[in-house]
Assembly symmetry: C2
Homo-oligomer: 154 residues x 2
Amino acid sequence: MSVPATLHFEDLALGQTFRSRPLTLTAEAIKRFAAEFDPQPFHLDEAAAAASFFAGLCASGWHTAALTMRLLTECVPFAGGMIGAGMDELRWPSPARPGDVLTCAAEITELRPSRSRPEIGLVKLLTTTTSQAGAPVLILRSNNIVPRRTGAAR
Amino acid sequence: MSVPATLHFEDLALGQTFRSRPLTLTAEAIKRFAAEFDPQPFHLDEAAAAASFFAGLCASGWHTAALTMRLLTECVPFAGGMIGAGMDELRWPSPARPGDVLTCAAEITELRPSRSRPEIGLVKLLTTTTSQAGAPVLILRSNNIVPRRTGAAR
């Protein structure tokens, strides 16, 4: 599903939006990620999760973020790859549940040439990861580094 | 390394800081996470990474974030667990490299009872994950939900 990473800063436009393939979240994947990185009962065990704040098994927010990154690497064709220079906001408005089919849309909300480094531009993306029901499971405002076509070779 | 999750909102104080155990990052772990979630050359292959923006293999920022979460679940003893209500900032000032020994410190920077939900309080944490050389590899400003001792049982 990957696209060639060919877009330089000069090729980008405000409002341009990249859309991912769908990805199905499974209970097995939720538990496997959680066992390694976020071993809390509401990410590991259905019964414990049912009695928790989340009222049912749900993915670690960091799992949802990692899956979002996976989908973005497949659909955002920046030359040089997806290089994050920090996130301004990361929220999980709805829990991601087993069986959810997730898709991402990443919209360019700001484009700014770097003042200090003429070979790069700074690109803000607003990424929304949504379930098949339309529930937003992740909202991310990220700052990305994209090489300029006219810049120095790297 | 886990501590009992016993601290309610009323038990917390501004400036209180939780410190993690050290965790060693390996090239194998960097590549394994990247293969699943962030398959870009600078996280997968030493030679390609050497020629990249990062001038050497480094962990996906989402890997560093997931490892930070792992360490926080072991050292932040909030009753009810670590429940994130969104992140205000997430940055990776320095790349995390193979062999780095990471530790986290999470400081309480704000405490606020929820106005709409008397059973919870909102706790802001400033988490810094640092390498053995003192380089900050991750800075996270998070909003966390912590139950009040006086609140309704959940």
